[in-house]
C-alpha cells in the first residue's frame, strides 16, 4: 500500500489484548507507512509505552475491553496529551461509556479502509 498521502511516518499506539488482532492492526498500519508503538496488551503496558515514547504520538487504536480491565485510563491519558484516537470494540456503540461519546469507535471485525480513514484523520488530512 502506498503512503503518498503523507510524507511523515505517523507514530501510532495500538492497545489490544488479543495478539492475533494486534498483529492484524500492526500489519495494516505498517502497510500504511506508520510506525507502531506497542502493541500493548494491558493498561499498564500502554501507559508504560506512553511514558517511554520519545517521538510525539500521532494517534492510537484502543481496544475497549482488555479482558479483565477496560482501556479508559489510557484514553484519559491520551485526551490529556491531546492525542487523537479511536476505539475498537466488539460491542455495539452503547458498550462505550457515555463520556467518550465524541470518540469514534470502530467495530470488530474492521475494514482496512476504516483503519486507513482513521489514520488519515490522525494526520489531519481528513
Amino acid at each position: 500500500m502506498n503512503s503518498a498521502w503523507t510524507d511523515k511516518k505517523l507514530n501510532i499506539l495500538v492497545v489490544e489484548d488479543s495478539s492475533m488482532i494486534a498483529m492484524l492492526l500492526e500489519d495494516l498500519l505498517v502497510d500504511l507507512g506508520c510506525t507502531v508503538l506497542g502493541p500493548a496488551g494491558s493498561v499498564a503496558q500502554a501507559l508504560a509505552a506512553l511514558q517511554g515514547c520519545e517521538k510525539p504520538l500521532d494517534g492510537a487504536f484502543l481496544d475497549v475491553n482488555l479482558g479483565s480491565e477496560t482501556v479508559y485510563p489510557v484514553a484519559d491519558a491520551l485526551l490529556t496529551r491531546g492525542v487523537p484516537f479511536v476505539f475498537l470494540t466488539g460491542y455495539a456503540a452503547h458498550g462505550i461509556e457515555p463520556r467518550y461519546s465524541v470518540i469514534p469507535a470502530l467495530k470488530k471485525p474492521f475494514l482496512a479502509s476504516a483503519i486507513e480513514n482513521a489514520v488519515k484523520r490522525f494526520s489531519g488530512q481528513a
Partner: protein, 583 residues
Amino acid sequence: MSMILSITSMTFRYGVAGVVIALAALLLQILQAHFGPMPPYITFYPSIILITVVARSGPGILATLLAAIYAEYFLLLPHRSIMISSAGAYISLGVFILMGVLISILAGAFHRLRDHERNLDAQALRSSEDRFRTLVEGVQDYAIYMLDPQGIVVSWSHGAERMKGWQEQEVVGQNFSRFFTPESASAGRPGRVLEIANAQGSFHEEAERVRKDGSMFWAALTITALRDEVGSLRGYAVVARDISERKQAEREIAGGRARLASIVDSAMDAIITIDAGYRIILFNAAAVAMFGYPVDEVLGQPIELLIPQRYHAGHAEHVRKFSVSGVTSRELGDKRTTLHGRRSSGEEFPLEASISQSEGDYGKLFTVILRDVTRRKHAEEQQSLLLGELAHRVKNTLAVVQSIAGQTRRFATPETFYGTFTGRLAALGDAHDLLTRSEWEGAALAEIIRFGLAPYGEPAMEARWKISGPRIWLAPNEAVTLSLVFHELTTNAAKFGALSNGKGKIMVSWEVTPAEAPETLVIRWREHGGPGVCLPQRFGFGSKLLERAVAHELKGETILEFPPSGFECTLRMPLSQKVKIQT
C-alpha cells in the same frame, strides 16, 4: 241440650217459689203458735223478695198468688173458707197481692237489665278473643305457644305445628324440653332458659332446635314470663322463628370468607388492601415476607410506608386517577418504568403490581397484588450482560479470523491458501471448544498441546509424540494464541519435520523455574528422527506468530534451533495471572 237445661231450670225456679212459700207459711204457723196472732203477711213479703231475686219475676208472681190463697183460706176470718169477714181484710189482701206483683215485676226488669249487660260484655270478650286467636293462628312463620311455670306446653299455634311438626294434642301437656337438642336438654338448658326469662322478664337466643321427625333447625326464640296483677308467675309465652335459611346463608358467607382468606394467605404474591384513606387494612403472609413487617405493625398504617420516599407524591396521584377512572382493575406502572417497594430494612426492590378497586362498607377499597421481581430483574441483567459478552467474543473472534485470513494471505499461494486457512480456523475452533468446557475461564496447557497434535493423533501416530509437564492454566487469549502456535508447529512437523517421514517423533515437555520459587514457564518442542533438518527458507506465519504473538501476549521469548537431530523450539514466558500453575 241447652233447651232441656232451660226447661229444667224453669221448673226448678217455680218449684223453688212453691217451696219457699210453703216454708214461709210453716214459719208463720210456728210463730203464731208461740207468740199468738201475727200480721198474716209477715213472713211472705221477705219470701217473695227472696224468690224474685233468685228466680226472677214469674216465680215471684206465683209465690204472691200462693201466699194470697193461703192467707185468705187459713188466716183471714172465717178460717177455712173463701169468705172474708171484714173490709179491712179485703184491703190488706189486695195490697199484699199488688205489692207482691209489683216486687216481682221490678225484680224481673232488674234481672233483664243485668242479663243484657252481661250479654254485651260476653260478646265483646268473645270478639276480642277471636281476634287474638285469629292473629296467633294466622301467623304461619312463627311458632307461638304457651308454657306453664314448669315448662309444660299449654297452648300450641298452627305456626308451631307447621314449624315443629307436632299436632296440638300431641304436645299440649308435654314438657317443652323435647324441643331442645338431646345434648342441650341433658345439660339442663330448658330449665336454665326459663330461669333466665323468669329473672329478667324475657330471654332471647338463636339456637338449634329439634323437629318431631328428629331433624334440626335454627330458631330465633323469645321467651317472655307471664305474670298476673300481683306479680306471681303464671307461665311463659314462647315466640320462635325458623332462621335456618339465614344461618345457612351466614355459613356460606363465612365459608366463602374463610376460603378467600386461605387463598389470600397462601398466595405467592403479596396482597394488600387499602381503604379510601390509603391505609392498610389487609396484609397477607406473602406481603409480610416481602416487606418484612409483621401484620399488626402495618394494619392502619398509610401505604406510603411501603413505598420509597421519592415515589410518594406520584403514587397518591396514580391511585387517585385510577379511582376516578371507572376501571375495576389494571396493571400498575408501564413497560418503561420499574416500580419499587421499600422493605422494613429500608432496602428498595423492584416489583410488578396490579390494582383493583371495589366498594366496601365504608367506602372505596383498593387491592394491590405485588410480585417481587428482584430475582427476575437480576436474571435479566445477567442475561443482557451475557449477551453483551457473547457479542464481544463473537466480534473479537471474527476479528481474529480476519487476522488469520490476512496472515495466511501474506504467506500462502492461491493454491495453498484455502487448506492452510481452514486448518488454522480448525485450531481456533478447537481452542474455543476447550474454553467453552471451562465456561471461558481458560484451558490447561496439556489439553492445548494435545488438541494441537490431534489431527495427527490417531492411534498409530500416538506413539510418535509424547507430552509431559506440570499442570499449567492459561487465560482465554493466551490459550487461543498457544493453540495456534502448536497448530503451526504440528503442521510444520507434518510438512517438513518429524511427522513427515513416518518414523520421526515429537516430544513436548515443560517446566517451571526456578523450582523453589517458580517465575518462568519453559516449554520445549523437540523433534527426532525426521528427515535431515535444514534451515527453512520460508518459515512464514508460524515463525511470525512465535516471534510476535508470543512476545506480545505471553511477554515471552522464542528460541528456534535447527540441530541435525531435529527441529527444536523453546518458549519462555513469565508466570502470571494469565499463565499460572494449576492447583
